[in-house]
């Protein structure tokens, strides 16, 4: 029986405590994830770590128990504390990733499976979470689509950070080929432009497009919840596994909205996105979803990208943006709020 367990917590750990935890995770064949915001370690009387767990936003991570101490309820202690910490931060919808063989343990701690791939089991602490999200998507669509042709339905998932003429072009190409397009904007608030601004700029820019239905991705598509990397050793494999999980989740949601094709812009710049697109081409057809890559719209021979727009916002001549973004985005960029935003990037 364990009597003297020592608790250590950090927001997150640094220095010796951090290196000790990394060392412990390494022994457990896990990686420490750099985005972690809160960690908890349990130590025995000799000050050796016997278990630990971490939290990044609403995702529980890097949970491990030393093999000598398994079966004593330590996982429950760690998960209880992580869950409470998340609740104290006002987050009630929680996720975790684990190896598929840990399923029973986490089910006992109030988590439910969403999806399992070969390497990863993705769980949430709500029985109905994904189902409720799909219900919401349907509600957002049904009233609009009622009584109109709906033979071919497509989807686009985009960050729009911020919305450019390139996005507009991609959506136009997609709507030309479909009766309806579901446009999913990433909900994760980790981009240069805050989520509500990105969403609002998209909403304004597509006002004239009657057959586009705007959604938020919530936690279920390309969120920090669906892109874990920490417990897979080779990083290249990790990215592949992440892509697979995210895409399989998309493949689960798509048929509920009768989506049969996903449109994506070609990716000339970002390596992660380009390998994500590659994975998309491989995985979605397995589920009967077609993938259409649309060449990016160009300005003076160069593909338009949101990252280029952000660069110009910081250093360049704002006038050149007029050719790259719609009027609504431009107005935001030159507004006081937009200027404040650029300043905040520099700090």
């Amino acid at each position: 029986m364990l009597e003297n367990i020592i608790f250590q917590e950090g927001y997150p750990f640094s220095g010796r405590r951090l290196s000790n935890m990394k060392e412990f995770l390494k022994q457990m064949v896990l990686d420490y994830d750099e985005g972690i915001e809160y960690s908890l370690s349990l130590l025995n009387e000799e000050y050796e770590i016997i278990g630990c767990g971490s939290l990044e936003a609403n995702v529980l991570k890097c949970i491990a128990i030393s093999s000598k101490y398994q079966g004593m309820g330590l996982a429950a202690t760690i998960v209880s504390n992580l869950v409470k910490e998340a609740y104290n931060q006002g987050r009630s919808h929680l996720f975790l990733f684990t190896k598929p063989n840990n399923r029973a343990m986490f089910e006992d701690l109030g988590f439910y499976s969403i999806l399992k791939t070969e390497d990863i089991l993705f769980m949430e602490n709500s029985k109905q979470g994904l189902k409720n999200y799909i219900e919401l998507l349907k509600k957002e669509s049904d009233s609009k689509m009622k009584g109109k042709p709906n033979n071919r339905i497509g989807a686009i998932v985009a960050n729009c950070n911020p919305f450019t003429n390139g996005h507009r072009y991609l959506i136009e190409q997609a709507t030309n080929q479909c009766d309806w397009i579901h446009l999913f904007i990433l909900s994760e608030n980790k981009s240069a432009f805050p989520t509500e601004v990105r969403y609002e700029l998209v909403r304004q820019a597509i006002k004239d497009m009657d057959n586009v239905i705007l959604h938020q991705t919530s936690d279920y598509l390309i969120s920090s919840a669906t892109f874990p990397t920490y417990f897979i050793k080779e990083k290249s494999k990790a990215i592949e596994a992440n892509c697979r999980l995210d895409l399989e989740l998309f493949a689960r949601i798509a048929p509920k909205l009768r989506i049969t094709v996903r449109f994506v812009g070609t990716e000339p710049y970002c390596e992660v996105t380009s390998s994500y697109n590659k994975a998309m081409n491989k995985i979605l057809p397995e589920y009967g979803i077609e993938v259409k890559e649309i060449s990016r719209k160009k300005d003076m021979g160069k593909p338009i990208s949101a990252s280029q727009v952000r660069k110009i916002m910081q250093t360049g001549n704002l006038d050149t943006l007029r050719k790259l973004v719609p009027e609504t985005t431009y107005q935001y960029i030159v507004s006081e709020e937009g200027r404040k935003l650029v300043k905040s990037w520099k700090n």
Partner: protein, 97 residues
């Protein structure tokens, strides 16, 4: 009393129950995950429902992860979670009215 934010009480340790209460707009929704669901699931739900009803709260989502807690423990945890969710310290234990 009115729910102001998420309130939580308890642990997932053996013989305990972790209760979380948050605001929703449409009635009482109790979601239970219990190691003794088959034997006592309905009993646990009814104890939780009764506590919530006594507290006068009409709209709440209650999530509970139970590890075989006795009824008295369940009541204590639910009552505490309610007080915490409401930022209230006007404690009247065993029977929020």
């Amino acid at each position: 009393m009115e729910i102001k934010h998420i309130g939580t009480a308890g642990t997932m340790g053996s013989s305990d129950i972790l209760v979380t209460i948050e605001k929703i707009s449409n009635g009482i929704d109790i979601s239970l995950n219990s190691s003794v669901e088959k034997q006592f699931g309905n009993q646990i739900r009814s104890v939780i429902a009764e506590c919530i009803k006594n507290s006068g709260i009409e709209n709440a989502k209650v999530t509970a992860v139970d590890k075989g807690a006795l009824d008295c423990v369940i009541r204590a945890r639910v009552e505490t979670a309610v007080y915490r969710a409401c930022d209230s310290q006007d404690y009247v234990w065993r029977g929020i009215k």
